[in-house]
Structure formats: structure tokens, C-alpha cells
């Protein structure tokens, strides 16, 4: 009797939630993999099994490889800049014991709560060639020759997108690092200071190894965040332009599905997105695996 009640309780708690997640979250992802083997255009059209044909098209599609390259650029640049700045800010704020420490924490974190749509539109205007504050700032300080059409120039568009992503994310990681740095026992620093260690040496030999576990996890978080979040930025700010210079896989997939009606092919690009994100999680996890230092 008791076990019947128990299993009823368990089922009631777990099953509805799980079924809803399967239908709305998990199954669509699996279905997208299956769809990659079909030619299927539009809602009314008939899906036709075509085996690996979509994959052949994919391999010969230069736009896919261009987009992949742009994805990789963002994945290399954004986490590196974000992590470096976040660590620098977190370390100096915790070490220097500034009175306004709380202020920095509140302000730097703030972009993280803004909508990506708001940030994208805002930065479109910051980068705007004639109305934007970036170009007019450069003119103001006498660097006229640096002004350009930031989002319309194939040489600067990816960097401009990357900076926007870094702007949004730094505070989040800084707050996380500050929290874990505060957990590092102060006697370690005291001992290091007696031994004459510089700030940089203290960071390298004490702080960094001790918070390594957090850094490791956040690198994975950030890489996946950049990979998933770049869709909104690119789709709003550049739509992949100019001339595919900022095209990325998710935007290309979305275009293939909802603008060109090539649902099957879009799903094939989607598989590439999936493979990369799983690969990234795996690589990040492996590369950063290291003995955790206990204290």
C-alpha cells in the first residue's frame, strides 16, 4: 500500500514534467536530426527521403564553411577576451579592497540582465557611421582616420560583434570569480608577501590555481553561451552581412528554413551546429581537466 502511494507520488512529480520536456525540448532536437535526411520544403510540402544528399550539398556549400569559420573566430576571440578581462577585474577588485567594490559589482554585472535585442539595437547605433557615438568619439579625440562603417565593413564586422558580446558577458564572470576569490584564504597571500611575491606572482601561483575549477567550468559555459547567443546578435545586427562576412551557422540555418523554405537542408546545417556544440563541450572539458587544488 505504502509503495503504491509512493510510486503514485513519484510519477505525479516526475512524469508530466518529463513528458512536456520530451515533446518541447528533447524530441524536436532528435527530430531535427531525422529531418536532415529528407528533402522537405515548406509546411504543406511532402517530405521525401533523400539519404545523405543534404550532407553532400552541405560539404560543397562554400557558405557553410565561411559561416563555420566565422563561428570559430567568435569562439576563439570572445571567451579569451571575456575571461581575461573578468579575471583582471575580479582580481584587482578583490585584492585592492576598494571601498567602491560593491559599486563595480553592481554596475559591471548590469549588461547581463539586458535583453540581447536591446543590446543589439543599442550597439547598432553605437557603431552607426554618422549617428553613432563610437565614430564621433574617435573624431573628438582626433582619430578621424580610424572611423569607419563598423558593421558594414567586412574587416571590422566580426570584431564589432565580438566586442558587443564581451561587453555583455564580462560582468557575469567577474562576479563569479570575485565570489570564488573571496574564498581563497588570506594567509596564503600573507605568506607570499613575506616571500616577496609580486601581485602577478600571487595571481599566477595562488589565486589562479585555487579558483581553477570555477574558471574551467565558466570557460565551457562561455563557449556554449557564445555559440548559442550569437544567433540573436548576428540576426539582428547584421543578418550575416556584409556579403556573408559575419554569417554564422545558426543564422544560415534559420535563413535556409524560414526564408528559403529548405527545411531539410536547414536541419542538416543544424546537425553541424549540434556536432560543434557537443564537440566544444567535450574539448573544453578535456583541455581544461586538471587536478583541483584543495585548500
Amino acid at each position: 500500500m505504502k509503495s503504491k502511494k509512493r510510486s503514485l507520488f513519484i510519477s505525479l512529480c516526475v512524469l508530466p514534467t518529463f513528458i512536456c520536456y520530451m515533446i518541447f525540448g528533447f524530441y524536436p532536437c532528435v527530430r531535427s536530426i531525422i529531418m536532415a535526411f529528407y528533402r522537405w520544403s515548406g509546411i504543406s510540402g511532402q517530405a521525401e527521403f533523400i539519404g545523405f544528399n543534404n550532407f553532400v550539398t552541405l560539404i560543397n556549400d562554400a557558405k557553410v564553411w565561411g559561416a563555420l569559420g566565422n563561428n570559430l573566430f567568435l569562439l576563439a576571440v570572445v571567451p579569451l577576451m571575456t575571461m581575461t578581462l573578468a579575471l583582471l577585474f575580479a582580481f584587482s577588485i578583490t585584492k585592492m579592497k576598494f571601498k567602491e567594490k560593491g559599486f563595480y559589482r553592481v554596475v559591471f554585472f548590469f549588461p547581463n540582465v539586458l535583453s540581447l535585442v536591446v543590446i543589439s539595437i543599442l550597439f547598432m547605433f553605437i557603431y552607426h557611421p554618422s549617428l553613432g557615438i563610437l565614430n564621433s568619439f574617435l573624431e573628438f579625440v582626433g582619430l578621424e582616420n580610424l572611423t569607419r562603417v563598423w558593421l558594414g565593413d567586412a574587416n571590422t564586422v566580426l570584431w564589432s560583434l565580438a566586442i558587443t558580446m564581451v561587453w555583455q558577458a564580462v560582468g557575469y564572470y567577474m562576479v563569479l570569480y570575485m565570489a570564488s576569490m573571496e574564498g581563497v584564504p588570506t594567509y596564503l597571500y600573507e605568506a607570499a608577501i613575506i616571500d616577496g611575491a609580486s601581485q602577478w606572482q600571487q595571481f599566477r601561483n595562488i589565486t589562479f590555481p585555487l579558483i581553477w575549477e570555477v574558471v574551467r567550468v565558466t570557460i565551457i559555459f562561455n563557449i556554449l553561451g557564445v555559440f548559442n547567443g550569437s544567433f540573436a546578435y548576428v540576426n539582428i545586427m547584421t543578418k550575416g552581412g556584409p556579403d556573408d562576412a559575419s554569417n554564422i551557422l545558426s543564422v544560415y540555418m534559420y535563413k535556409q528554413a524560414f526564408a528559403n523554405g529548405n527545411f531539410g537542408y536547414a536541419m542538416c546545417v543544424g546537425i553541424l551546429v549540434l556536432v560543434i556544440s557537443l564537440l566544444l563541450a567535450y574539448i573544453a572539458n578535456r583541455l581544461t581537466k586538471k587536478e583541483v587544488v584543495q585548500y
Binding site: 601581485q199 548559442n228 539582428i236
Partner: protein, 282 residues
């Protein structure tokens, strides 16, 4: 010798402070600029971007709310966000609790699927889900969109709540069982009140997520009258591009930002400390 070191120390302190102040400006200035620009008339807009607006006229806000329907979008966003939060939180609590505390068949399978779910790129399922919503007659409905928000947020929500339930000592439940409390009683009267900090934290995070969401509402809402704020804002941008009257767009930006600014101002301690509760200890 000592003195020299002290001056070096305070010099580097000053340098770091300057860097931090510059970053403060880099973060705050665009936001102040947005707010100021939202009060500018269109002639003022095309002048120097650093110039202050001549007066604090609200014409752009009136245009955004009346002509560009930002008022309706605001209502839609509230509807979708609140309903999504209610569904997500009520359905996740029991699941997270049972998955952390009870042994049963398929438990590890369920846990594994949620774990994989954490790493699946949301964009991947966007097309099939589009078809599923159409088959269920939920495409282009606000209820459908809130269901998408709620259900796709399960892995993350359950992950955070499980971590918290796992940290509550088992003695509380054991005592309750001795007192003859039912399973439901233990969950709702003991565990939920104890997990309140985690529930509030995850509610705040999901609020931010749902309120600011872009991809799903772009794809699953077709009617103009059902758009959420972020998509309404994109639409406003497209419209203003042709009329080249950007004031209303900046007013729209402020309207979208305002609730998050308020929530953040009131709850920033909870938000930043909540990161460390849930985010990484699990």
C-alpha cells in the same frame, strides 16, 4: 625602501582604479545615451550625438506606446512571462525534489536527459518545434509561447533546484515521516519553504530569460498583436528605418529595459549571490 614600495603600490592602485572607472563609463554610458536620446526630437537626433536633448518631451514615448503598439507588446510580454514562470516553477519543484531524493526506475535516464538538455543548442529544435506547435494548434498563440518557455527551461531549472534540494539535510524528511506526514505534505510544507531562496533565485533568472527572449517569439508568433516586447522592438526598428524617425525606437528601448532595470535594482544582491548558489556548485 619601504616607502618606495608603498608609492609603487598606491600607483598601481590608482592605475587599476582608472581602468575600472573607464570600464564603468563603457558600461553605463551607452545606457545613459539611450535614455537621453529617447527624449530627442528627430532634428536633434541628427545633430551631434553628444548633445543633450533640448527638453524632456515625452512625444517619443507617446509615439512608441500609441502608434507602435509598445503598450500591447508590453502586455503580451507580461502574460507570456508570468504564465511561463508559473508553469515552469510549479512543474519543476516536484521533479527536482523527487529526482534528488527518491530511488526509482528510470531515474538516472531522466537525469541524464535533462543533463544532455543543458547542452543542446536551443536553435537546433526550432524548426521541428515549429511543426509540433502547428499540429497542436499552439502556433501563434501566447499560451503556446509560454509553454515553450516553461518546458524548454526545465533542464536548467531542475538542475539548479536539485542542487539546492540535495543540500538540505535528510533529517527534516525523516522527522516528518515519523510525525505521519504524507509525501505531498513533506514536499509542499517542508521542502518548498526550505528551498525558497533557490526558488526565488531561479524565478528571477527565468524572469530575465523569458522577458528578454528572442528566437522563439520571433519564430512562433506571427500576428502583430501577439508579439512580445523584444520582437515588437525589432519591428519598430524596421518601421523607423523607413520613416527615419528614430526617437520612438529609443523610447521603445527604454520601455523594454525599464522592468529589468527595476528588477535588477531591487534584487541585485539576490541575483549576484544567486549565481554562486546555483550556477556552479551543482
Amino acid at each position: 625602501m619601504k616607502k618606495k614600495e608603498e608609492t609603487r603600490w598606491s600607483m598601481s592602485k590608482l592605475l587599476i582604479r582608472i581602468i575600472l572607472v573607464i570600464n564603468t563609463i563603457v558600461v553605463i554610458f551607452p545606457l545613459i545615451w539611450t535614455i537621453l536620446t529617447s527624449f530627442k526630437t528627430s532634428t536633434e537626433f541628427y545633430e551631434n550625438p553628444w548633445k543633450l536633448p533640448g527638453s524632456l518631451n515625452l512625444i517619443n514615448y507617446i509615439n512608441a506606446i500609441e502608434k507602435a503598439n509598445m503598450g500591447d507588446y508590453f502586455f503580451n510580454s507580461i502574460f507570456v512571462t508570468v504564465l511561463g514562470l508559473l508553469i515552469c516553477i510549479t512543474m519543476s519543484i516536484g521533479s527536482a525534489y523527487v529526482l534528488t531524493r527518491y530511488e526509482f526506475k528510470f531515474r538516472s535516464l531522466f537525469k541524464q536527459i535533462y543533463l544532455i538538455g543543458l547542452f543542446l543548442p536551443p536553435i537546433l529544435g526550432i524548426v521541428p518545434l515549429f511543426m509540433i506547435l502547428q499540429q497542436m494548434n499552439l502556433y501563434d498563440t501566447r499560451i503556446g509561447l509560454s509553454m515553450v518557455y516553461a518546458f524548454t527551461a526545465f533542464p536548467y531549472t531542475i538542475f539548479i533546484l536539485s542542487g539546492f534540494f540535495g543540500s538540505i539535510p535528510k533529517e527534516f524528511e525523516e522527522a516528518a515521516i515519523v510525525d505521519g506526514c504524507s509525501y505531498y505534505g513533506i514536499l509542499w510544507r517542508i521542502m518548498v519553504p526550505m528551498a525558497k531562496p533557490a526558488i526565488i533565485t531561479i524565478t528571477i533568472f527565468n524572469f530575465m530569460g523569458f522577458w528578454n527572449e528572442y528566437g522563439y517569439s520571433l519564430t512562433y508568433i506571427a500576428s502583430e498583436s501577439k508579439r512580445t516586447l523584444p520582437i515588437g522592438l525589432i519591428n519598430l526598428m524596421e518601421v523607423q528605418r523607413y520613416s527615419t524617425d528614430w526617437g520612438a525606437l529609443f523610447a521603445g528601448l527604454v520601455i523594454v529595459m525599464l522592468p529589468t532595470i527595476i528588477v535588477y535594482a531591487l534584487l541585485q544582491k539576490r541575483i549576484t549571490s544567486g549565481l554562486t548558489i546555483g550556477g556552479l556548485k551543482g
